[in-house]
Symmetry: C2
Subunit: 338 residues, 2 copies
């Protein structure tokens, strides 16, 4: 028998995730069922949405049930297969699996990852993964960027934000990122090619936006919410667009959080705001991945990973997203790649 | 010489409009300039946007200058013309003029109103006017109603809301209006053909929405803002739409007003929210007016007017919009129709 490890949701967190909300449970794997594929997790992706799934507030999917394995995905290697067409040794995207060393998954739902020259495996959880697709479709489909426009993105050094800014640059926009440290801001301007970056922890965001967005803001790609969002909304141009991708500043909230105090400016500026979930674009992923792969190959997209080691660290590592510690895609390396 | 009367903005109101904010000034009309048309106001339209124009908060147009005539429009009769193509006696839509007995207006900007059988002059400030076009384009262009969907509209017995609901009914939707009295609610269901109406002053809005919108809410046509908007946002369906037309509950605010406390539901439900101003649709007014005129002729659109008498009452009458006293289009009858 093979021993598995799975993080089980024991209770719904109140505020930040606390010790005891999740429990790491060891179990013996059953015999693999017909049509299923046994995947050993190599990298587990940690994302703000994990926190949403722990809550029973009405989200975009049902919450993880108490007592169930914590929902999550990543890439892994096939250890055993009872599905024709996927062989042991294949590297796959697990889709929506659990925070576990092994997941037995229906073969027809798995995507075998291609080997692309010069593209590391981690890219399939970054630019070529869900976060890359989030940036790609949110910016292009909702934001509709035009050359010369000004794009502001919050959580700009994160997995999504860093892609949004670079895709906007490729489309000829002026790009201003908002992030939470001088190191991140330096990475944004010096590596990722943003026109400017604002450290919201040490700068007056409104004054910095005035300085860096002299022609106002045409697109606000919103990942965070809260007072920083208010500062951006106040500077939107007429007919601006606001892809609403995330509100990480409120996911840990334990009491009602007011919406933007200048909500009325969305009316006055005739802003289009659109909430979206990347899964809404699932049928268009192939086109998005092809575009991102081309830009990666051309050196037009830089990406960073923030890798922590060991499945046992996953719950604690999730907090890096909420405390602003990560630069780039946060991953847990669970086992060795093939 | 002809004597004119004009409401002059003397100071910016703080909160509700107060005595002394506007002053009614008598003046002698100068000789009519070349290319201009002298229009005697018959009906002056009072609209929530008048209050926006008095404020120097950044709106969608520059505010009325202190010392200038209060901006407003309506319909009037041409008393004198120095513009070829518009003759005395013609009935015109004044466009953006002032709260005055007479306005001298550039002839090329005036629209002469057609005589339509069975259509009273007041309809040109209701279903066939700016408020009708606001309802038409906001609902159809942004809301994209489909037969069988549920539409909620706030300020439902107002000039815009009452049209929104009826246009939605014509498109096969279930329509629930929110208004501020039992009389208004009765008018909505018994005359305007709404499926249900909620009196927000005497009912628990959330419970009533649950009762009247068993399949959730697909379109929220927002005119009001505040806690009622929160109750509606909480019940939006996936891929819902929210034309953001007005936020009358905050126009008189003297301190910052929080946005919706469930702003995050716009993300989770992937709602499309779009602020709009009817002037953005000016080039499509002819098509909108044709459609509305057809529906009016077919008896599919009912409309009410709330007419007060005398230019001197205009500032006081504006408060009827904010205190919820009006049912239908609020007009000041300034002088007799031809």
């Amino acid at each position: 028998m093979i021993s598995n490890q799975t993080w089980i949701l024991r209770k719904r967190p109140s505020g930040a995730l606390a010790s005891g909300d999740l429990e790491l449970v060891t179990s013996e794997l059953p015999e693999l069922a017909d049509g299923m594929v046994r995947v050993r997790t190599v990298y587990l992706s940690l994302d703000p949405t994990n926190r949403i799934w722990m809550s029973d507030a009405k989200g975009y999917m049902p919450p993880v049930a108490i007592g169930a394995g914590m929902r999550g995905g990543g890439v892994g290697v096939v250890e055993e297969s009872r599905f024709i067409g996927i062989a042991p040794g294949a590297v796959v995207n697990t889709g929506l699996a659990t925070w576990a060393l092994y997941n037995d998954l229906p073969g027809e739902k798995l995507a075998v990852l291609p080997k692309l020259p010069g593209v590391p495996l981690t890219a399939f959880m970054g630019p070529l993964g869900v976060t890359g697709m989030t940036a790609y479709f949110g910016l292009l489909d909702i934001g509709q960027p035009k050359a010369g426009e000004t794009v502001v993105v919050s959580a700009a050094a994160g997995a999504v934000g860093s892609m949004v800014g670079q895709i906007a640059k490729i489309h000829g926009c002026r790009v201003v990122g908002i992030a939470g440290s001088t190191d991140k801001c330096r990475w944004l301007t010096d590596v990722a090619g943003f026109d400017a970056a604002i450290d919201y922890k040490s700068e007056d965001v409104g004054a910095a936006l005035d300085r860096h967005c002299p022609a106002g803001i045409d697109i606000n790609f919103e990942n965070v919410g809260g007072p920083v969002m208010d500062s951006v909304i106040a500077r939107l141009n007429d007919f601006s667009r606001m892809p609403l991708c995330g509100l990480i500043s409120v996911y840990n909230a334990t009491k009602p959080v007011p919406g933007p105090f200048n909500f009325g400016n969305l009316l006055m500026r005739r802003t289009l705001l659109k909430g979206f979930i990347v899964l809404d674009y699932l049928d268009r992923f192939p086109a998005g991945m092809r575009a991102m792969a081309d830009w990666l190959a051309a050196g037009k997209i830089k990406f960073e990973t923030d890798i922590v080691h060991g499945l046992e660290i996953a719950p604690a590592a999730l907090d890096r997203l909420f405390s602003g510690k990560n630069l780039g895609k946060l991953l847990v390396k669970v086992s060795d790649p093939p």
